[in-house]
Symmetry: C2
Subunit: 219 residues, 2 copies
């Protein structure tokens, strides 16, 4: 029995070390190097986040050349913190953040996501105080699809908890919290099947819901 418990403890520790030490993919550095040659200016409205942000065509969606995509598939809040210079140096007009799903999927806590978003807000408020910040909720997931069921898809409770913490954080810091979650969730607390084909990412219809909610802030 002792052996079994020790084995479980060892696996738990290893999984956590893995989650902490996982490194970004080649794709991450491809996008970073592309962003390096695409300057951000003080007229710009920046969308930063993971695959859900990456997957959209933001300037097209808002018919605005100053709306720019800085999403990177698989990104996590602590990797976003490491690439803020590229954006903060341009002192953009607005910044929309949507991140945390991959942190939770990798076993990080709602509190750690919130702590990282707090650091992001602090940096902007100190170094680019004119930038309007919009912290968007983590989206619901749906474990009824095979692909992401095991990790991301099982995080329903953590997502609700993280969103509550993010909302409190935004109130404290005086920035806008945008609750996209409530617009995408079904009556069972899952990402509505109307808007997804894998339980994690959005279809075009989902992006339209998101657009409708935030267009008053973008324009």
């Amino acid at each position: 029995m002792k052996k079994i418990i020790l084995s479980f403890v060892a696996i738990f520790v290893m999984v956590n070390i893995y989650a902490q030490t996982a490194t970004p993919s080649e794709y991450h550095y491809q996008k970073l190097s592309l962003f390096e040659v695409l300057p951000v200016t003080s007229s710009d409205i920046i969308f930063i986040g993971n695959s859900i942000t990456d997957g959209c065509e933001w300037s097209e969606l808002f018919s605005n050349i100053n709306v720019k995509n800085r999403g990177i598939s698989a990104d996590r809040t602590y990797w976003i913190l490491e690439r803020l210079d590229q954006i903060i140096n341009g002192k953009p007009r607005k910044l929309f953040v949507q991140a945390g799903t991959n942190d939770l999927g990798a076993g990080h806590s709602p509190q750690s996501v919130t702590d990282n978003i707090a650091k992001l807000i602090d940096r902007f408020q100190a170094e680019s105080p004119e930038t309007e910040l919009y912290i968007q909720s983590i989206f619901p997931v749906n474990n009824g699809f095979e692909k992401f069921a095991k990790h991301h898809g099982s995080k329903d409770k953590e997502i609700i908890e993280a969103n509550e913490l993010l909302k409190q954080l935004c109130a404290l810091k005086g920035v806008t919290f945008v609750d996209v979650y409530s617009k995408l969730v079904d009556e069972n607390g899952k990402l509505n099947r109307e808007y997804t084909n894998d339980g994690l990412h959005l279809m075009g219809t989902g992006y339209l819901v998101w657009k409708k909610l935030i267009e008053e802030y973008v324009n």
Copy 2:
């Protein structure tokens, strides 16, 4: 010995059936559904292709809101043919095509890539004859990186052959062939390490080389 040969034949047949019957990923349908809600107009300059096209921010790169990204990661020429309606119905001003790498990586022949691009050209010339077509070469690859070495990275000869066929096709059809390959290849016939971190995809510097070559056609 007969058994061994028969086994090899069986494996060969199975691999080919797999290549032919592989289906697009969830991501493919996410992008398709997004494109469905983002209309193409006769002012537009469309970039269509696979991950290499998908990975860029084209409207930003050319500072032009009418330059639109219709790349889908992992796309193949015969899947592109199936999604032409979304683009052809808008009768865009220009279409830039860059595709074929994933076909070759999946075991398809240079001739099959060329046959599919011929079908694409035929459809546009019949249904949207005002659209200026730019068929771009397949890019070199580099098997000196682990990730794609086995499939895509081993296709040096097929890529050269496909590009020669594409060039002949364009001359025959009266459309512009753009040789990006020669700008990205090193002295050993590989994708230059200056422009890639995985032997297949481009870093920002690579996109700048590509931009410089085609900007006379885009503007």
